[in-house]
């Protein structure tokens, strides 16, 4: 089952099969096969933990080329406000905007500019009496996917409203088309802080396709912009930011949403904290809350996997910056825009659960497999070392009943079999090489993972 687009890819040539990624994956989506990491697609939520943990930089993200800009007359850069936060203080907002324009864009749109619309809609939704509380924001696509595949009973708690980048895309599209621009002439490029947002654009939760035309990685973009920063502020670009608000600037940082909604709201950042919280929420152990902001990255989007700046200084710069902007309460929506139409574009029709952890679609067969796995577990050492290529003993047992692993993959079990003379030394070694690659265990001073390599 591969229903989601995945942005994260593994470069096999670079992967050294070191199990770092497998250990940190919150959904046990990674296995090592023939010495290389592989992703179980149905379980991947694109949170980027693997990419962060990889010492060999073997994970990469598919993105579009800036050359694509040439295809459009109106070239729009959609980017989250955290982009600005990455730069050192001495580089001004004006300078950053000018450098972005110099890259070839005609319009710059911080995605949180029209945030008022989303705030109002969310507030209305929270007022409705029949909604499942606590309501969970759909802001972070990694969290939405996580709920879909692992917490199916909580999908109804997700607020069916799209994220700021969708809103901003429709907002600018509508503004330009109101001025008589044709749709084909407009190219919308989203500068993404993470892999999850890419997947959200390529395969949105609802059914309608996204209006974004291209995706550019924030890290590449940052480097290019950095090189084009002018010595001095030359032109005035503030008209490009005319809708920006204090709340908008802080939206993608931690508590950006939760501080706006509900009497009782919680903000959680970091995917492992999110997992723990959802576990408790699903048991009904947490009660009395109206709104949950949950973000996969530590320090929310300031800590996105494609962000260059330090996440703490990024957040601080945004806090300072927000003081220069008025509150959304003081902003009026552009009269020429059709608010109803924008609202329609923001609704998600249905968020479906996709349980990625069932052993079998058929209950009887699933039960047989589970019984078998429980028997297998008795033989495994419970050391959770990962040397079998599965993240822990339980996962290995499950992989076995699915036909994706063998008893002999457990190195301790093999050792015992040798001790009991049930398997030859030669055979045991061949088994190891099969899992980890031929020659993997030869002495080699240049092997990745040797001393002082930053592992």
């Amino acid at each position: 089952m591969n229903i989601f687009h995945h942005a994260i890819q593994i470069d096999e040539a670079k992967c050294v099969g070191c199990v770092h990624c497998m250990r940190v994956c919150p959904t046990e989506a990674i296995r090592i096969r023939e010495g290389k990491a592989m992703i179980i697609q149905s379980r991947c939520i694109d949170c980027g933990q693997c990419m962060r943990a990889c010492p060999a930089k073997a994970f990469y993200i598919k993105q579009n080329d800036l050359k694509m800009l040439q295809d459009y007359k109106y070239r729009i850069a959609l980017f989250p406000a955290v982009m600005i936060g990455q730069f050192p203080d001495k580089i001004s907002e004006e300078q950053i905007y000018q450098a972005m324009l110099a890259l070839g864009f005609t319009h710059l749109m911080e995605v949180e500019q029209p945030i008022k619309i989303l705030i109002d809609l969310t507030k209305e939704y929270l007022q409705e009496t029949q909604v499942s509380k606590p309501c969970i924001s759909a802001f972070c696509p990694a969290v939405v996917r996580l709920i879909q595949i692992k917490y199916p009973s909580l999908v109804d708690n997700i607020i069916p409203l799209k994220a700021p980048h969708d809103l901003a895309a429709h907002f600018i599209l509508q503004s330009l088309m109101n001025q008589g621009v044709k749709k084909e002439e407009i190219g919308i490029f989203y500068i993404t802080p993470c892999a999850a947002k890419i997947s959200a654009v390529k395969s949105p939760v609802g059914d309608q396709p996204s209006v974004v035309d291209g995706i550019i990685s924030m890290s590449d973009f940052y480097n290019k912009v950095r090189q084009l920063i002018p010595r001095e502020e030359e032109t005035e670009t503030s008209s490009q930011r005319k809708h920006l608000t204090r709340e908008g600037v802080l939206w993608s940082t931690s508590r950006g949403e939760s501080s706006r909604f509900g009497n009782r709201a919680i903000a959680i950042d970091g995917i492992h904290s999110v997992v723990k919280f959802l576990d408790r929420l699903e048991n009904d152990e947490v009660q009395g809350f109206d709104f949950l902001e949950m973000r996969a990255c530590d320090q929310s989007c300031a800590g996105g996997i494609l962000m260059t700046g330090n996440r703490f200084t990024t957040t601080e710069r945004l806090e300072q910056r927000s003081k220069n902007y008025p509150s959304y309460r003081e902003k009026e929506l552009d009269k020429t825009l059709d608010k109803h139409k924008l609202t329609q574009c923001l609704l998600i029709d249905e968020i479906k659960p996709y349980n990625a952890f069932s052993l079998d679609d058929d209950i009887t067969r699933a039960m047989e497999k589970m019984t078998k796995a429980q028997r297998i577990i008795c033989f495994l050492p419970g050391i959770d070392c990962g040397a079998c290529g599965s993240p822990n003993c339980q996962a290995l047992a499950e992989d076995m009943v699915q036909g994706n692993a063998k008893m002999s993959d457990c190195i301790f079990l093999q050792q015992r079999w040798q001790h009991e003379a049930r398997i030859g030394v030669e055979k045991a070694f061949l088994n190891l090489e099969k899992r980890w690659g031929e020659g993997r265990f030869n002495a080699d001073c240049n092997k990745r993972g040797r001393r002082n390599e930053g592992f």
Partner: protein
């Protein structure tokens, strides 16, 4: 058929919830309807907390077959003198200490009744209580 077993200690609120969490994980792997899982987990959690709050020790047995989940929680404890009364919303004998921890609203048993398809409570005052719940799917 799958069988799971857990041991609970009276007064141990930290561990109350282990049986429901573990059971939940297993039920998801068995691809059981999320709604049934939710009912089971919620009712089981209440029953676990009751052992932590009111009894000395207990044993939980969960059996999953192809059409239902049966949960039996057998404890050694003071037992319940008047089960009918205990089933009423708001009835509670929880100690002040337990109340301080946020329990003792007298909603546990009613909540179990709401979530389980069958709820049977048997008790011998002075010796212990057995709670049996069935969830059909």
């Amino acid at each position: 058929m799958i069988e799971l077993r857990f041991i609970l200690e009276g007064g141990d609120f930290d561990r109350a919830g282990t049986a429901s969490s573990e059971t939940k994980k297993i039920l998801k792997q068995l691809n059981i309807d999320p709604r049934v899982i939710k009912h089971t987990v919620v009712a089981l959690y209440e029953a676990e907390v009751n052992i932590a709050a009111h009894a000395y020790r207990g044993e939980v047995t969960i059996t999953v077959s192809d059409h239902q989940i049966v949960a039996v929680l057998k404890d050694e404890g003071p037992g319940i003198a008047d089960i009918k009364r205990a089933m009423l919303e708001g009835f509670s004998t929880a100690s002040p200490k337990v109340r301080e921890m946020g329990f003792g609203a007298g909603m546990g048993l009613p909540n179990m009744k709401k979530n389980a398809d069958v709820l049977e409570v048997e008790s011998t005052p002075g010796s212990g209580t057995t709670v049996k719940m069935i969830f059909d799917f």
